[in-house]
Assembly symmetry: C2
Homo-oligomer: 380 residues x 2
């Protein structure tokens, strides 16, 4: 199976992590047909670059697609892809599972990642499941409380002083030298794992638009590749319009897109409540930008205020998500106002991670006090 750089086009026969030109690499497109099967891994068996090691699976994928009531208000048919029901409660598990399948097959004894949130927990969980050591590199500023949900899996958690952006590249280099397979945000196997989201959506409906919270760009690239492969395999007739969504306070891809640039630039002084998508210099930023240009897709940035409002609205539907996961709904409202999404369109928004992961950002609602004796009055 060949890997290819989506920017310069160079191909590789060995499983490199990035192209010599500095950009990410990706597996060539698969052209195949689905099977019957219980899990998305089995149904789309011929679409993965490596045999999924089902004995290492924790049951990731096959998440619910929930019809949203918000859609009615907004005048679209809105569906929410709830990735918070994955084994470590975020979409990351899909990519981690496939990358760990590779790491085990390739004989690695240790894996790692650079993350402070969802990906850290996911890599730690699948590493211990597979009997591998895990090296989780986190930034200086990460709180001990946040790391509890990571260290509980028994990973080696290392808080690194120094430039966090450099850490991404440094870890890949050191990993190669030391025999540690680093599964960072846009690792090629990880990107392949995210294709499952496109496959599962397509099993239920043919969306006109898909809203994707975008940070490093790995999730966006994965979902895009999934739809592209479905089209090339003759399983769908046309591609949906994919919309990369970022937080205004950290929107390097949207900024470059708006300014019609071909390359992203580092976003200085990032500041947003949507921590899970606050990468100021996304390693797949240029690759996402190229997809947006090539297919006439879009990038939309939303404010923290809009994000928090969308988070409340989603909770009002029974779905409690972390702020980053609410960006899609915030963007949808904006795009409807600007008439960039037509009334009646079928829209899917990806809910990337559980609200329990970022409880400290949540304003608690009111709690009333009452005595058992006056309960009847309180309940009226």
């Amino acid at each position: 199976m060949k890997l290819k750089c989506p920017i310069c086009g160079k191909t590789y026969d060995e499983p490199v992590q990035r192209c010599e030109c500095g950009e990410p690499v990706e597996f060539e497109a698969f052209n195949a047909e689905p099977y019957l099967g219980k899990t998305v891994w089995e149904r789309f068996w011929d679409f993965w670059p490596i045999e999924p090691a089902m004995e290492l699976s924790l049951g990731e994928g096959d998440t619910p697609l929930v019809k949203s009531k918000l859609g009615k208000e907004l005048g679209v048919r809105l569906y929410l892809k709830n990735e918070t029901t994955n084994p470590t409660w975020s979409f990351k598990d899909r990519g981690t599972f496939l990358a760990v399948s590779y790491a085990v097959k390739a004989g690695y004894k240790a894996i790692g990642t650079v993350s402070t949130g969802n990906m850290a927990a996911s890599v730690a969980a699948y590493a211990t499941r597979a009997g591998l050591k895990a090296k989780i590199l986190v930034s200086e500023s990460t709180s001990g409380e946040k790391l509890k949900a990571v260290s509980v899996y028994g990973a080696d958690v290392i808080r690194v002083r120094g430039d966090y952006g450099r850490l991404y590249f440094e870890s890949l280099e050191l990993g190669e030298k030391l025999g540690i397979y680093f599964i960072n945000s846009d690792n090629p196997f990880r990107v392949e794992g995210y294709k499952g989201i496109a496959f599962e959506i397509t099993e239920e409906l043919t969306p006109d638009y898909v809203l994707i919270p975008t940070s490093s760009g790995g999730l966006f690239r994965g979902i895009a590749k999934g739809f592209i492969e479905l089209k090339e395999s003759g399983l769908i007739d046309k591609l949906p319009t994919l919309i990369a969504v970022q937080a205004e306070g950290c929107s390097p891809v949207c900024r470059a897109f708006r300014e019609e640039k071909e390359r992203i630039e580092r976003f200085e002084n990032p500041k947003t409540i949507a921590k899970a998508i606050a990468n100021p210099y996304p390693p797949s930023g240029n690759a996402v930008l190229k997809l947006l240009h090539e297919f006439g897709w879009k990038c939309t940035a939303v404010s923290d205020e809009e994000i928090l409002e969308a988070q409340r609205e989603l909770a009002g539907e029974g779905l409690f998500v972390q702020p980053a996961s609410a960006t899609g709904i915030a963007a949808l409202k904006k795009l409807m106002e600007m008439e960039e999404i037509k009334e009646g369109a079928k829209v899917v928004s990806i809910l990337t991670g559980s609200g329990l992961k970022a409880l400290s950002h949540v304003e608690g609602g009111k709690v009333r006090e009452c005595s058992l004796e006056s309960l009847e009055e309180c309940l009226r």
Copy 2:
């Protein structure tokens, strides 16, 4: 559809919540056949006492059954039913969904529950999904932090001063008077919803033993009823041995079982880290006790130390659960030592809720410090 008291045998044609004798009621056993279908609700359509209102579903149920590595160590074939991947990250969602389906059909405008944890979040989420008001009654001692994950759904959260045990019965009475449908822990529709766990397990294997964390008794009764209906419908040949598991510090059912009593007694001064199963006077306690006697099933109590060890071992498999959910594994180890479970047996343990729900009880693992310059050394 008739309701029946499992203790005194009295039957009811109207949907009462409890028998006149004070015990819970339950729907008569269903005898039916499954269909093909995507969700457990569709596949077992004829086994529910009310038509599931699929438009109100958040995608609950159809959770992964994960093969455990711990089983090998212990000499059994161990499978973990991971209920933490439900929409509000606990098994409660199955019961809530079915009970809300009923409440909507019956014309209620408000629902409620008495809970401080998983059930509170679940009822709040499904209420708002269905456009119903939610009244969540919590005990005086519940912390504001814990209630954030409940109030975020927009429920009316009321902290009630006074005896928490009385609150269960008081709420049912007031609810009837005020037109609020209280979906407490062993509500008959709730119990029906939990049957899905037995159905899904049976679709994958025929267990010899099923370990069930037991508090109010609603979950135990639901899983038991599910297996009994499968047997009466000729879909399985024999019932598994069900094992109710409690924390030693609050084990009214196990105590009564050990002392060969027919009735439970209030467990004074309950004290355990497994807060989610710390009901000192379980409203379905007598009904569970009767099932244990009737079918020759078991009750096992485990210490906080054993629970915390099991929680760590489960995290070591990639599954981070709340303490209550680890009791099954703690009990399994005990029963293996006592040779009450045979080597080679097929065992399923129910993982009831996510570890993120009780992060404050988790000991954080070690976090190392390192500079970017010395990263290579740190990684070696």
